[in-house]
């Protein structure tokens, strides 16, 4: 008696993976009719510290036609309406294309004007960008448009304060078989 397997295994195809970190369009390779895409939104920016400092900016949304967009993370709010945070130091920069939120200056030893340590207060950094995976039916040779969210802008430091760090940019990961 004969047997069959459905779907038939296709051992002749090879898996390909790539990450998009620049540009606005990608051409579907020949013989490719389905792709898995993972969109990473930009991370929110870290807040600055000190009087008249600014909050971190919202991270950019990463988009790709036909896929669910990945919204950028919120910037760290400037919640210093109670404390005047001083002496914070600017933290390490975010790694590009990770979608991680940027550090706020209070993360690194900021102290309130009354001398109380501020480290540990939340939120102390911008939010990470969303990570969204979609599966798309595509046509070989077609061009797919996309945009990659930027990291949220860094909050600036005010009097006796320090600037935060910008959020990390997002990226698009594509996987297909051909």
């Amino acid at each position: 008696m004969g047997t069959s397997v459905f779907p038939a295994p296709n051992t002749s195809k090879t898996s390909y993976k790539l990450s998009l970190t620049s540009g606005t369009s990608w051409t579907v390779p020949s013989n490719v009719t389905q792709i898995n895409v993972t969109l990473v939104g930009g991370g929110g920016g870290g807040a600055g510290s000190g009087t008249s400092s600014t909050a971190g900016g919202v991270g950019g949304t990463t988009t790709l036609t036909g896929a669910t967009s990945a919204v950028g993370g919120n910037g760290c709010v400037n919640y210093f309406s109670v404390f005047t945070v001083q002496n914070g130091a600017t933290g390490a920069a975010s790694t590009p294309n990770t979608g991680k939120g940027g550090l706020s200056s209070i993360e690194y030893g900021g102290a309130s004007s009354a001398g109380a340590a501020m480290t540990g207060y939340q939120p102390s950094r911008g939010e990470d960008g969303q990570i969204i995976t979609s599966t798309l039916a595509v046509t070989p040779g077609n061009s797919i448009t996309y945009s990659i969210g930027a990291g949220g802008t860094a909050g600036s430091g005010g009097t006796s304060g320090a600037a935060g760090q910008a959020g990390a940019s997002g990226r698009i990961d594509i996987e297909y078989w051909a």
Binding site: G57, G72, S81, F83, T84, S147, G155, S156
Partner: protein, 61 residues
């Protein structure tokens, strides 16, 4: 080094994106504005929380 762009539609920042090709920027005048951290959104353009402005905070002293 990433090139940062504010995407502007109807006098409102609708997104911030990276590394848009030069020809796309040229084909869409006014839509993509390159910026660096610390950039201030022009007057009359809604920054949509992408570019927060300074806020005077109160002292707990």
């Amino acid at each position: 080094m990433e090139k940062l762009f504010a995407v502007i539609e109807n006098n409102k920042v609708v997104n911030v994106v990276i590394n848009v090709e030069d020809e796309i920027v040229a084909e869409n005048p006014g839509k993509y504005i390159e910026y660096t951290n610390g950039w201030t959104c022009p007057d009359g353009v809604d920054d949509s929380d992408f570019f927060p402005k300074p806020v005077k905070v109160e002292s707990a002293q």
